[in-house]
Subunit: 597 residues, 2 copies
Amino acid sequence: MPSYKAPLRDTQFILNEVINIDRYASLPGFSDATPDLVSAILEEGAKFVEEVTQPLNLSGDEQGCVRHPDGSVTTPTGFKAAYDQLVEAGWGGLAADPAYGGQGLPHVIANAFEEFMISANMAFTMYIGLTQGAIAAITAVGSEDQKSTFIPRMVAGSWSGTMNLTEPHCGTDLGLLRTRAEPHADGSFRITGTKIFISSGEHDLTENIIHLVLAKMPDSPDTVRGISLFIVPKFLVNADGSLGERNTVSCGSLEEKMGIHGNSTCVMNYDGATGYLIGERDKGMRAMFVMMNAARLGVGLQGLAQSEVSYQNAVAYAQDRLQGRSLTGPKNKAGQADPIIVHPDVRRMLMNAKAFNEGARALALWGALQVDLTHMAATEEERQEADDLIGLLTPVIKGYFTDKGYENATNAQQCLGGHGYIREWGLEQFVRDARIAMIYEGTNGIQALDLVGRKLASNGGRALRTYVGKIKSYIDTHRDTQGMGEFVQPLEAALDDLQKSTSWLMANAMTNADNAGAASMPYLYLMGLVSLGFMWAQIAEAALHGLAGGATDTNFYSNKLRTGRYFFSHMLPETAIHRIRIQAGSKTLMEMDAQAF
Amino acid sequence: MPSYKAPLRDTQFILNEVINIDRYASLPGFSDATPDLVSAILEEGAKFVEEVTQPLNLSGDEQGCVRHPDGSVTTPTGFKAAYDQLVEAGWGGLAADPAYGGQGLPHVIANAFEEFMISANMAFTMYIGLTQGAIAAITAVGSEDQKSTFIPRMVAGSWSGTMNLTEPHCGTDLGLLRTRAEPHADGSFRITGTKIFISSGEHDLTENIIHLVLAKMPDSPDTVRGISLFIVPKFLVNADGSLGERNTVSCGSLEEKMGIHGNSTCVMNYDGATGYLIGERDKGMRAMFVMMNAARLGVGLQGLAQSEVSYQNAVAYAQDRLQGRSLTGPKNKAGQADPIIVHPDVRRMLMNAKAFNEGARALALWGALQVDLTHMAATEEERQEADDLIGLLTPVIKGYFTDKGYENATNAQQCLGGHGYIREWGLEQFVRDARIAMIYEGTNGIQALDLVGRKLASNGGRALRTYVGKIKSYIDTHRDTQGMGEFVQPLEAALDDLQKSTSWLMANAMTNADNAGAASMPYLYLMGLVSLGFMWAQIAEAALHGLAGGATDTNFYSNKLRTGRYFFSHMLPETAIHRIRIQAGSKTLMEMDAQAF
């Protein structure tokens, strides 16, 4: 049976010693988030996921969701009770606005807890995660009436939310969508169409489900500029907030998927369902991107979280499984064989995951901090900078984390040999679950295009300039700091690969946009590596500081330095191959006729 | 529904224009294998798999195998009828010895057909594949009586075979195995123990199943030097060859696996079952390696075959799916959107697979030719050279092909977006099926250790010297050939990475064996890339030759050159990062305490 322990020590180290959230104590929300309170919350949260949701992960996958002839959907055994416990403890509203019943904590804290939730049970956590995206959209573009009607119950968890974008013939290219919204005399709309791949579309966890649905009005342009966003509740809501009649939206079938079987992925049929316009008419894509950006960061966390939990299980197996002998002589002389963690190639797979997980966790938390600063920093300049940084890094966190999450889960599975391929050890589930994160909320290829085609170019390249400036300045400050040279020098080389690749793009993408397209994924990997390098340099700095400060926990800090050295010597140099691929251009990709593949 | 067309044109091109099997027409078996006959066989074979076994792939996965309370196992609907057709047509005995009813064709032809079989239905093909391994072992070490009793029926397909190595507590380290073989007065043995992960262990396709089982005799050393190999038939065989009583070996349960659901993976219980020693006592590992080497090449083919079939389905989708517009302006002006194959990043994924598939197919066929030459070449020197080459390349073909096969299947799935994650399109099955090939017949980490720890070192490094010498000599011969410079120069750079890495290993692995272990997987990738580069140079040479010869099929040859250029500019340069990782050594991997992971 797989197991999971939330990485409390590492999370606290990052919050308190690497990104130092105490620097922001003067900001709203942060003032309450003292280290002691944060520790208490994370410890309670760890206990909750380890005891309540993780034990349902394997059985939830095996059992899956069941759709009944009346269109209702039952989640796996135990999910409803676990959800009720979660609601009662208020875990869904950590970062939500206190005006709507939330706890008003910084996003960075909620993000730390969300990683634990996903590692413990990704399919379960999706029921809550989608609701957060829907809350974000209603908060951003809803009327006061819509906010007060829907958000408090969604924060409380008695209602949940969904995002309805994809249709059978269109996903990425939403301009093609066919779902129609006919205006009705009372100001509402009648929504008709079919949406597919709708996560948490129908289930038995909440009293009501609030669908956010993209559709076109009859007289709007039949393009992406004619899409509006609608609220379509499963049960209509009476004026007093009580539940009214059942709306004509239903789950037509459940998708048969590779993984996340515990989450209900639905085909949703809208049959003249009553919907309410939210935000401006024909500006649905803008509202959708509010949901989407929150969701993309959440999906990035899924990559990290699946990497972490699969790593933990591979480590436990590798420490325990006796097989063969160390190449340098027996290490477990009393036994018939050594644990397989003595083998360098097993350690290679584990170390790749460990160095990724710890660096990615720092980047995820630093990114979540930027989300907070976007809203709450003291000056407009700081808010703008935070917004630039998280805009730039959102596709990187989504795309790079999920590709690595799948790779690390696959390697963790490999550490178990044949046992990794069978259900009972849980590793094959982590791989199947991790796989979806590379696809949904915009495939990773779309993330790469967003990065190269939009984020690099917007505002004359301001975001990248800011980010590179921060890294450069860090390098300059620490180049001669005692003990930092071995970390800062490879970071500088990697940053050089990023800058030369950027220059190449500027010189070659204008004349031929396919050069940008061909470069996009290598560029995303390159930026992911440099970002992790930036984090690892700061982690090493914090570890050196911890050791110099006479900490009693010296092993923790020494092992940070060891892991960092592995990252800088074995992983970061990969930037070179991405630069080679970028500079090789698009010619050999594009010149073959499409029919010749 | 997924589809598959056997790559007949490419296979024929490799056989006739790249490795030129007509050069071997004077050898036994090859004399019959005229281009016309080979074409006829492969065309018939293609028809068989496309019409008979491929249509059962998706349904076989969905239905899986069923074990009944009496221990019998039913394969998915249609498997038995397809197997009977296969037996009737003689597809199982293409390369088998005519003395035992085989057709005596070269392995290289059987190998070409085997790729088609696996692409069409991997789980089904495993029932035949394991039998081939068992035939190889009986041929190599069996007595004349054992050969004549078992081989003809296994060649005919009325009996099948299995390999029983793994036990719950040991897989890689067979010295730990606990299955016992007690001598019986009549010269047979009583076999008792539990074997797990036994592919095709019990099923309804054949009249009898011949288990080859590793076990220890009571007075043999309790190490790898005390292991013997036994034949344990499901039904005992009477002196006249008819089936006797049911042996006390049974399937205790079916493993619940990530994929290959159409193949029965069994826990096999040996309960004092009657077994017959095959080969020398305590030399079971040697016989096992005969099976294993054949099986490893077959598993390597699984990587290629899954890459090919998933690529084909991704191409079909990418040519058909309309979504968004080309970055360089609409290509399908009459439609609402362009097919997604206009996008460079979609082509990147497809081209990575295409360039791998065509290069790997050449290497697989060239490798199978070496297997033939090992037995049949005219001189001892040629036989030795072929044996050296295939010994060196077996772990590379197994390890590199299966890692790439999984990666390419994953990328093919990515091309379909959300549709790649659901069952009906078949892509997620290709990923799940491809995953096992990295694990069984020795994990890829074990392949890498075999390469670096055994194959490089044996006979003073003769095999590598031979192989590098062949590549160098090819480079020298073609450096100044018209049109070959763009292919030969990057090959030379990649070979330099291989040689410098080898030198580093020789200098650093003796003082610290962990440096070899840490280098093993990057070294395997490096050798895989150089090997594909060697093949791609020869493919390019053949394509230039075809064009110069005034072939009518100029597109075929031009596209070979285009694909080759992509391989040399985007894929082969990856050798540099493997060299960096090798030369980074094992220190950062090994210095952390095992408990600190």
